[in-house]
Symmetry: C2
Subunit: 226 residues, 2 copies
C-alpha cells in the first residue's frame, strides 16, 4: 500500500470507481500518475442507480475505459431472509440502520474483484478511495486492513500488486484541496454522494452533510451545487 | 488458520461447501468438532448445475442448514468480453484451458463471502477444503495465502475469525482415510467431482482421474462408483 506521490508513467492502474466524491478524486489522482488508467465499477444493486450513471459519465468525461462488474452476492448477504434480519421499506436494515446491501467486510470483496480484473489486465496498481478519517466505524476501511488485504492479494494472485489509498488519512477538506491541486474540481460536478439519490442532492442526509462540511472547511464551493 | 484437531463443542462453524469430495470431507470434519455447523454454497454459474444439487443433497443427508449465495461476478470476470479473451464452445478458456468462470484469486472472494456470512451468524470458525498438495498451480490455495487472508478478514471484520484447512497438506489418499476415520465415507457417494458433469462420472477427465488415484492409493473403493 502506498500514499506516496511518486510518478509511475510507465505503469497502468485500475481505480475501484463508484462515481462518488472519493473515488472521483482517486481517479484524478491516478490520471496524474499513471500512463494508463482504467476504472472498475461494481454493480452490487445500489439502491440509487444514479450512482452508476454518474460513474459512467465521469469516465467518459476523462476518456478512460470503464468496466462494470455485477455482484449479486451483497443483496443476498445483506440484512434479509438469509440471516433472518428484518428489512424496512426504505431499504435500510431495521437493526443496523445500514443499507440492506451493506455486508461486513464489503470492501475486501470489492477490492478482491477489482484486483482480479487488474491481474487479467496486467496492471499491478489498484487505487481505492477508502478513508479511515471519516469512517472509523468501518473496520474494512482502516489502513491496517488494506495492508493485510494487499498481502493476501499478493499471495493469492502471485503478483506484486500495490493498493494505493491516497485519501486514507485525509480529512474531507484536504480531499477537496487535493482535487483543486489536481485541477479537476470540475469532475465533482458529476459525482453523486446523496444517500437519498436526489438531484440536486437533498442536503440533509449524512452524506450530503459530510460533503458540505468538507467543502465549507476547504473554503471552496461544491461544483455539484454550482 | 489451524490444522489442529481440537474439539470445539461450544462453537459454531461455517463450511464453504461446493458438494465436491474435499468440501464434503471438510463437512464431516467440522461435524465431528463443532456444536453447530452450517454450509455456505456459492452459486457462481457452475457449468454443471449437478454440483449444486449434490451440495444440497449432502447437507440434507447430514441435517445441516445450507444457504446458497449467488455471485455473478465470476462469469463477468472470466475469460470473456470484459478481458478480450476468446472462449470456446465447451466452456473452457481457449488460452488457459480453465473454465470460463475461473477467476484469479477466486478462493479469496469465495472465502470472503463465506466469512461475511459467518460474521452475520456469529460464527468465528470457517472451514475450507483448499489443499496445496494437489493444486500447486493455484496460488490462492496455498497455506501462506490462506494465512494472509485470515489476517485480512480478521482486520476487516474486526473479528477473531479462524480459517480451518484440514486438507491443506494431505494427499488425496490421506483425505480418503480421514473420511474413513470420521466414519462418513457414505457421504462421498453423493459428492460430485467430474469436470464433465456426468453421472456416473466419466472416469477420464483430470478430476475423475485424480479422485480415482486417491481411492486407489488409499485402498478403499469409491462409494460413488459402488
Amino acid at each position: 500500500m502506498s500514499h506516496a506521490t511518486t510518478t509511475a508513467k510507465n505503469r497502468s492502474a485500475v481505480v475501484l470507481f463508484s462515481g462518488g466524491q472519493d473515488s472521483t478524486t482517486c481517479l484524478a489522482w491516478a490520471l496524474a500518475r499513471f500512463s494508463t488508467v482504467e476504472c472498475v465499477t461494481i454493480d452490487y444493486g445500489q439502491r440509487h442507480r444514479i450512482e452508476l450513471v454518474a460513474a459512467k459519465r465521469i469516465c467518459a468525461a476523462v476518456g478512460v475505459r470503464q468496466v462494470q462488474i455485477p455482484c449479486d452476492s451483497f443483496r443476498a448477504l445483506g440484512g434479509n431472509s438469509l440471516t433472518g434480519d428484518e428489512a424496512v421499506a426504505n431499504g435500510l436494515n431495521a437493526t443496523t440502520g445500514l443499507p440492506n446491501t451493506f455486508v461486513p467486510g464489503r470492501n475486501l470483496i470489492l477490492l478482491s474483484l477489482a484486483a482480479a480484473y487488474a491481474w487479467q489486465r496486467g496492471a499491478h496498481d489498484l487505487v481505492t478511495g477508502v478513508c479511515q478519517t471519516d469512517y472509523s466505524g468501518y473496520p474494512d476501511c482502516r489502513d491496517t486492513t488494506i495492508q493485510a488485504l494487499q498481502a493476501a492479494l499478493r499471495a493469492g494472485l502471485d503478483s506484486p500488486l500495490t493498493i494505493h489509498t491516497p485519501l486514507m488519512h485525509l480529512t474531507k477538506a484536504e480531499s477537496v484541496w487535493m482535487m483543486r491541486d489536481l485541477g479537476r474540481l470540475d469532475l465533482l460536478a458529476h459525482s453523486h454522494t446523496c444517500y437519498n439519490g436526489q438531484v440536486p442532492p437533498c442536503g440533509t442526509c449524512p452524506s450530503c452533510l459530510l460533503r458540505a462540511k468538507g467543502f465549507a472547511e476547504a473554503g471552496i464551493p461544491d461544483p455539484l451545487l454550482g
